[in-house]
């Protein structure tokens, strides 16, 4: 499991459920966030990516930073929880 895409537990603010998101270890967190938003888009109006920020282990990662920080940089492991929240 560690060598393939990493399964992550994704939650989007405003949504009713969580979804599984697969991410490569070198994938930018911003791409993970976009995939998560797409996965929830049947229930959530996605709007602009800039409306959101990713939360990894209680740490907010602004989308600008998320373009350069990767899944590996964030030390994410299989089935870790990530949250996409609307920016205040």
């Amino acid at each position: 499991m560690a060598e393939g895409p990493l399964p992550l537990c994704g939650f989007v603010e405003g949504d009713s459920m969580g979804v599984l998101v697969f991410a490569a270890i070198d994938m930018p967190l911003a791409e993970v966030a976009r995939r998560l938003l797409t996965s929830a888009s049947v229930r959530i109006e996605p709007g602009s990516p800039e409306d959101w920020e990713l939360h990894v282990a209680e740490r907010a990662v602004p989308m600008g930073t998320a373009e350069t920080e990767t899944v590996g940089d964030a030390h994410l492991a299989a089935l870790d929880r990530i949250d996409l929240r609307r920016r205040a």
């Binding site: 499991m1 399964p7 459920m17 969580g18 599984l20 229930r43 089935l79």
Partner: protein, 502 residues
């Protein structure tokens, strides 16, 4: 032998001999005759159970006479109203609720035959064993009635075939139902079965189903379903009485153990009923025919009576009561919105709440339903953008996450904050929908750790991650059977461009 209907003389003269025949073993020890592993904890000598009783005090001849009369009544209704032409006049949303109930009911009842027979052998008092034997016969009847009624309807609608098929499949609802029912009905010892099934599940919750939903059936003019559940309820009311005297004895000797079992099974029962009955009452019943909200029925039939019963026997309300009260406002709305967006994964069709339904839901759930309106706005907007009947254009495609304990989608908490929690246990990560589900797992990890949830099956390559393959190859659903929007996304209010918020 007294035949049904014949006079039995002075019943009180011989009743206890008939219903409470017992003996003192001399060839084996009492512990060998009733091993703790299957009779249950706390293991107590026979004298501690000597005062056991229940109010119905039925004997076999009387049982047969009463059941025969019930069967005659049910058969008459089936004969008069059980044809496809009778059922096809009912509202299609309501029929979806019937399909949901019909599929989750009969084979669970069949599993309850096993649990009841275990109590009929290993219950610690003669009258307990006799009542449990009648309970086993009841549960067999509850298996047969829905199977018989719904079989006739398969030719009218293939989704009714899931009445028998559901629990034989890998459908996610079946996996969740099996996880609960197999532990509750097949694996529990006689004491846990009495506390979990007879006290919590039947005394605490089935009134919701059999009285609350019967009232709704009456409102929608579904006499067939009403007859089925009210007839079943009369049996449940009798054998549910096993639970209270068992609980009182357990509380007297092991109050902490009794509290743990009650807390565990209240939560597990709540999850199940909030999905099955919550969907039917608040979404699938036509709004003009609703007798009350699911929350109102739960408050009347579950919360008040259950808390009184707990207090009577000296137990506390479950430790997670605040979480339960919040979930009473949120959980079934959250699961329904989630399931609607994955409706092809179930065997019944689903209703998109329009302006009238949403006004009703706002009125009944002022503190929670507004949080779900943006979801229904989004779904409505997607339907407007696509052609009628193209369900997969308004459908989730990602793999949903399921709780490792209850096997239901991760839908606890509120849309602003999902309660899911990841737990690392012996080198493996597991996700739970809520703190109570996490607590149940961590209380007995050896009991649950080996179970493969759907996500584990997908990650292991056992189940396909592709939705259509998952439906066809793994869930056993065909296009004709899988759930769709009940009106193909075509609603008069939508055509009028009316805002779903109303």
């Amino acid at each position: 032998m007294v035949a049904p209907g014949e006079s039995a003389g002075h019943t009180e003269d011989w009743l206890d001999l008939a219903r409470n025949l017992d003996w003192t073993p001399d060839a084996v020890s009492e512990r060998d005759l009733f091993p703790a592993q299957i009779a249950g904890d706390p293991w107590l000598p026979a004298e501690e159970w000597a005062g056991w009783s229940e109010p119905y005090r039925t004997w076999f001849g009387d049982y047969v006479r009463v059941q025969s009369e019930k069967e005659t009544s049910v058969a008459a209704i089936v004969e008069a109203l059980g044809r496809a032409s009778d059922v096809s006049r009912l509202d299609p949303g309501w029929l979806s609720g019937v399909k949901l109930h019909a599929a989750t009911l009969p084979l669970a009842e069949f599993a309850a035959v096993i649990g009841s027979l275990r109590a009929a052998r290993f219950g610690r008092h003669g009258a307990w064993r006799t009542t449990a034997l009648f309970g086993a016969l009841d549960e067999l009847r509850h298996t047969q009635i829905p199977l018989t009624m719904m079989h006739e309807l398969v030719r009218f609608d293939a989704q009714f075939d899931w009445t028998h098929r559901l629990l034989h499949t890998n459908n996610w609802v079946a996996i969740a139902a099996r996880h609960t029912f197999e532990e509750l009905l097949l694996c529990a010892d006689a004491v846990e079965y009495a506390l979990a099934t007879n006290f919590v599940f039947e005394t605490g919750f089935t009134n919701l189903q059999f009285i609350g939903l019967a009232a709704v059936s009456d409102q929608v003019d579904d006499r067939l379903f009403e007859t089925m559940i009210t007839s079943i309820q009369t049996d449940e009311a009798r054998h549910a009485q096993i639970g209270r005297p068992v609980l009182e004895t357990v509380v007297a000797h092991d109050p902490d153990g009794a509290q743990r079992l009650v807390d565990k099974w209240f939560w597990r029962s709540w999850q199940l009923f909030s999905v099955v009955t919550g969907f039917a009452m608040d979404y699938l019943t036509p709004v003009s025919r609703r007798a009350g909200s699911f929350k109102e029925f739960v408050e009347e039939w579950v919360v008040g009576q259950f808390l009184d019963s707990l207090q009577d026997v000296g137990l506390r309300r479950p430790w997670y009561w605040e979480t339960f009260e919040r979930s009473l406002d949120h959980y079934h709305h959250s699961v329904y919105a989630s399931a609607y967006s994955y409706r092809s994964t179930v065997w019944f069709d689903m209703v998109l709440p329009g302006p009238e339904e949403r006004r009703w839901l706002r009125r009944k759930y002022p503190d929670s339903f507004p949080a779900y309106e943006p979801i229904w706005d989004r779904v409505t907007e997607l339907w407007r953008r696509t052609d009628p009947g193209i369900d997969l254009a308004v459908h989730g495609l990602a793999v949903p996450l399921f709780c490792h304990l209850c096997q239901i989608v991760l839908a606890h908490g509120t849309p602003d904050g999902n309660d899911a929690v990841v737990v690392h246990h012996e080198g493996r990560s597991r996700i739970f929908c809520s703190e109570p589900c996490r607590w149940i797992f961590e209380s007995e990890p050896e009991r649950y750790a080996g179970h493969q949830d759907i996500v584990s099956r997908v990650l292991a390559g056992e189940a396909p991650g592709n939705l259509v393959q998952f439906l066809r190859r793994y869930c056993g659903l065909t296009y004709e059977e899988w759930g769709k929007d009940v009106r193909g996304g075509v609603y008069p209010w939508m055509m009028a461009r009316e805002d779903g918020r109303g």
